[in-house]
Structures are given as C-alpha cells and as structure tokens.
Symmetry: C2
Subunit: 378 residues, 2 copies
C-alpha cells in the first residue's frame, strides 16, 4: 500500500522506516514547498497534492497545523485518516477543549478570551494563576503566557493583544486554570478501523524550556493507566478516530487531567521503537491501512532523550549497550529537534545505569537540565 | 556517512533501513544493470560505479558472486571493506577451503577435482560418500552433487563435466567428505577496524530443498558457542576482516565443522532485527564505517521463518504478538526469497507457542516442511 503523509519531517521519516518491512510505502507532502517527496531520501516525485492523493491508498498527517484548504482537499479524496476534523481539532485549542468537555474527559477549566474584559471575567470565574494559550499554532511552549496576579493583567494583555494583531484573523486565546501538577505524563495509543484500541504504557515526560527533553516508560501505574486508557477510548470513540493519538496529562495527586491531545504519532512515544513489541510509527500505519493494531506491550524498560539544537553526539555512545541513536538528518538550528536517543534495559535499575552512562558521554551544555531530570524520573 | 553496497537486493535494503537512524546513508550498485540506486526506493542516481565510488565514504557488499573487475575497481578506491580478497574467498570454494585450513579451523576433508581420474583419487583419499560442489556461483544448494557409491561415479562425473563445459573457464569442482551432522548451526559476528569482535548467539538452521527455511537463536550452548566464537576470531583475524561475517557449521556430536563462510550479513541472522540489541545490518554498517560494534546479546527468544516464492501472507499474522513481517517488495518468482517473518518472545516456551500460532495462519503448501522443522527445532 502507498501512504501519503502531510508533512515531511522526522515523523514521516520514521513512519517510512517502520512501514517498509510491512511493504507499506510512504511518501510525504511538504506543506511548505507543495511537493511530494520521499521522507527518507527527499527524492522529489514531481507531483502536486492532487497527484499525490490519486497515487496513494491512504493519506494521513504528521502534524496538525495544516491549512484548511489542504485538509479539505485530502478529506474530499475519501482516503484521509484520522481525517480533517481530528487534525483540525488537534490544531485549534478551542476545538480541543470543546472535544474534551463533550467527551466528558477531565481537563482544566477554561474560557476563550478576545478582550481585556474577557480576561478579567476569566480571572473571576476560573481564578488565578491562569495560563493563556494561543488557539492556533501552539507548539513546544510557544504562544503561552502565565498570569499570576490581577496586577499583571494589563501587562500580559498588552503582550497578548500585540500577538493577536500579528496573527491570522482566526487566531484566539484560551485562558485556562493553571494546574499545580505533580508530573506530566502522556499516553499513546492506536485505534483501528474496526474500533479496536491498544494503548502503550504511560510515559512520564520532562520538558525543558517548553520542549520535551526526557521520556520514561512507566510501569506499576495501574490506576493511572486505567484513567489514561479510559480517556483514550472516550476521545477516540467520540471522534471515530483511526490511527495513533497521543494525550498529554497533568498528574495531580493521582488524578489525570488532560492537557492536550495530538492526532498523530508523538515525540513522547519514540521510545516504543526499542521498548515495545510494535512501535507507534508502525501502529499508526497499520491502523490507517486497515491492518490489525500490533502489540503495544513493553519488551524492555525504556527511556528517550531528545537531541535539541545540537549535532554534538560523540561516537562513544555507540559503545553503550541498549543505547540507540535515531538521527533525523536535518540542518542544525537552535531549538530544533535533531534526533533522539532511546535507552533500553531488562529492568528499571539497569535502565538507570545505562541512562547515567549515556549522560556521561553527552555534553551537559547541549542537554540542559537532563541530568537532574534523569535523577528525578528514574 | 555515505555507504555504497555492491548488490541491490534485500540485504542492501535492510542495511539502508538499519543505517538511517544512525545517519548512515546507503546507496546500492546493481551489478547486473550497472546502476547506482537507492536500495529501498530504487531511485536511480544516474551514476556508474566510478561515480558511486567517488561519492561514498565506504563501499561494501551484500553478496560474494561479484566479477573480479568490479572487485578490483572497488579495492582501488581504498574504501572497500571487508575488501576484495574476503569477497573473492567467499565466492570461491577453493579459496574458502584453503583459508579454513590455513587458519586451522576444522572443516570437512576436500580435494579439488578436474578430471574423472581426480574424482577416483578423491574417493580413495577422502572416502565415500562425497559431496561435489562447484567452486564458483554455488548458492542455495545449486551446483552440488552427492556421490554415494563408486558405481555411481561415472554417472555423476558425466553430469559434473557437462556442468563444467557450460561454466566459465575459472569454474572448478571441490570434492568434500560428506559430513553425517546432527544439525546445522551458524554464527554471525562483527569485527571492527580496531580488531574488536562481537558475535551473536549461535543459530540453528533448517534448510528445505537447499534453501534456508527456519532459524532459531540458540541459548544454553556454551560449549558450542565457544567453538564458534573461536572459529570466528581465527578466520576474521587471518583476513584482517572488517564487517559482519557469517559461518555455517555442521554440528557433529558437539564438534563444529565449518561448512562455509559468507563475508556479509546473512539470512540466518535476520532474527537479530527483533531478537538482539543491535541487529546484524546495523552492526555491519557500524563496522565498515568505523563505529563501535553494538551489543550482540539477545533481548528476547527469537526465530525466523523465510518466505520463499510466495506472497500469500495473510493479514491475520499482524494480530499475533511478537510476530514481525519483513517484506522485500520483490516480484514473485518460484524459489525467490520474498521476505521473512521474525518471531520473538520472552522465553523459549512462549516462542514455541507464538511460532505455532504463526504457522496456523500460513498455508502449509507455501511453507513445505516448516511445521516439522518447527517441532524439531523448538
């Protein structure tokens, strides 16, 4: 089968690597250059989206910030999974919050604000602190403001309204209760065409400067896992979703509140490449291609370290058992996700040792906060 | 780094999939069409071998039956690993037997025969039964004759000499003692530029009609593993070998006799993709690119089923835990290796169950002898 992925980044690349053994071929539509390319070799197929859509059996997406005209064109092909609505919801904080409420999945109180008066109303009804988030194009902590006291409201609103003026007409701001969470966790799962669902074990995530830095697959979290699975089932059923979907949660004293969802494979699920029987990339392709969802159980203890804005990865890491580099082959740029490193081991104690051995080889300046995060998470 | 592989078949394809996460890019030189292509996408780079050699950092091979002029051209580039000599030895039974003797590695008694008189001399000095093997182009059991009694010598020689007349001038016949083996096993290992060696656990192999049908990774074979590792170290040191090399053995009552060697990744090591920390394809690339050899230890119990001459693989196999299809995306042809299926599990008992579950889904007619072999090997 031929799959067309909207977006030609590392997620499409890893889908192509995961799909090849099953005979699932992946092309990517680069939304910026409007070209169809191979996501691994970047071979240009000299096709536009219309030709790419005719050529493929299934179209899917590796990100959610996609112009509506492209989504509509894909939807019209009848081949789009999880489909335009799911992608649109994932890309618009207003729709996402509506979905969470309509599916009755616990999430932080919120209000859409358009004016400074709206903001004061939100302060009154939700309370402080608040987090203000842009509805569109929010990504890796961009487009977010925190409001702690009423005294700061005018200043924050000045920043927000200046941001709104520079944004598209459809942009908006969602004011949300700030959640005093114990930790951030996420669940990745896949739902098949037949409605069957398999979810991976929960992942605990550490963000540094708003970007995911470290993920560790959790075990012995039965009670949390049940909540996460329940939320996954409710949300995907509401959307009649097909494919992999990720849900990020705040863990507040053992209760999970959804922070956000991503209608796609997700950075916090990259450890599944080594840590699970079938990885998220293969399972997404299986789902959208109508194959059975593969086993999502752990085959080893697993963690993932993101490589952000550096290509300073010493060859010495290849000497370490259970350490697997995944390089995206992109030009270096500050803050850019350049690759990730999966670490696997028979059990958590050995995983901790192997992660420590890896961190010894990495330059601390390139991985700020990682040592402390590894101490905290393992 | 850019690697050029001689041969554009499934082994080059799987190298490209294994290398991509490390940022190791693989192109393939198709020895038949004299084109440089991408082994996964088959994109034609419009290069000849000379241009491909300039463009790459390392050249290696996925098979050993390569014309001498091509080997010489690669050798002259200074980038060829394991190099022309190792490939030539792997492709010529006479040289292979000489190597085994000079490295003092146990193997079956042999004699090169060119005439019927030579054959009778071989019968006298080695004894019967004998196996006659073509020195060149022997592959998957082709070019082999078995001689059981002196009475059959004239008939067998008639067949052999007719074969020789149709062959190239450099062709020859090696007469070898027939070995009454208990089982066939193989070892795959990698040797780095620095001479460091890591070998995978031994694999037990079942051949059907001369073609590998089933491989099972062995555990609890310390004594055999030592012999295999010893042979691997001696042979690769003698050749100053860099890369993955496979050795096939006869197990004769706990003593290993080398049957043949392959200077490349090998079909009996395909289970390492799921069963070992680092698979043979990645380790070959690591070795030839000068990176550290990765951990060759098992991460699960593992077996591999070859898919020969059929594309009748029901989707139902994807429902099975620990079952991983690797499809080569080739046109179907009788006797052709179309793909393989790896089966993994926590332990041998579970592996046996999972393999049985897989065999239930496969059409027996497409996998002759496999059910009995699975019974025997697990």
């Amino acid at each position: 089968m031929q799959v067309l992925v909207l977006g030609a980044g590392q997620l499409a690349r890893m889908m192509s690597l995961a799909g090849a053994p099953l005979g699932l071929k992946v092309k990517a539509y680069d939304v910026r250059s409007h070209t169809v390319v191979h996501p691994l070799t970047l071979e240009n197929y000299q096709q536009d989206l219309a030709a790419g859509l005719i050529d493929c059996d299934v179209v899917t997406a590796e990100f959610e910030h996609i112009p509506q005209d492209i989504l509509s064109q894909c939807q019209a092909s009848g081949k789009f999974r999880p489909g335009a609505e799911a992608i649109r919801i994932g890309g618009d904080r207003r729709l996402e919050k509506q979905l969470l409420d309509s599916a009755d999945v616990p999430n932080a109180k919120y209000q859409v604000v358009s004016t400074e008066a709206d903001l004061h109303q939100a302060i009154a009804s939700i309370g402080l602190p608040l987090v203000l988030k842009s509805a569109l194009e929010g990504y890796d902590g961009k487009g977010q403001w925190r409001l702690k006291t009423t005294a700061d409201a005018a200043q924050v609103w000045a920043e927000v309204s200046s941001f709104l003026q520079e944004s598209s007409a459809n942009q908006a701001i969602v004011a949300e209760a700030w959640i005093p969470f114990d930790r951030e966790v996420s669940v990745i799962g896949a739902r098949g065409k037949d409605g069957s669902v398999k979810v991976y074990p929960l992942t605990q995530n550490h963000h540094e400067n708003g970007i995911l830095s470290l993920s560790v697959a959790l075990t012995d979290t039965e009670q949390l896992q049940q909540q996460a699975t329940h939320a996954f089932e409710k949300l995907t059923k509401t959307l009649d979703y097909v494919g992999v979907l990720a849900i990020e949660f705040f863990d507040v004293d053992g209760k999970l509140l959804v922070n956000e969802i991503a209608p796609r494979v997700h950075n916090s699920g990259h450890w599944t490449q080594q840590g699970a029987d079938v990885c998220q990339f293969e399972n997404h392709l299986r789902a959208v291609c109508g194959l059975a969802i593969g086993n999502t159980q752990l085959v080893s203890a697993a963690a993932m370290v993101n490589v952000i804005g550096t290509d300073n990865i010493p060859n010495s890491i290849h000497q370490l058992d259970g350490v697997h580099l995944h390089w995206y082959d992109k030009d270096k740029r500050a803050g850019r996700k350049m690759g990730h490193i999966n670490v696997c081991a028979e059990d958590k104690a050995e995983l901790k040792k192997r992660l420590a051995a890896l961190l010894k080889q990495l330059d601390e300046a390139d991985f700020p906060g990682l040592h402390q995060a590894a101490q905290a998470l393992l």
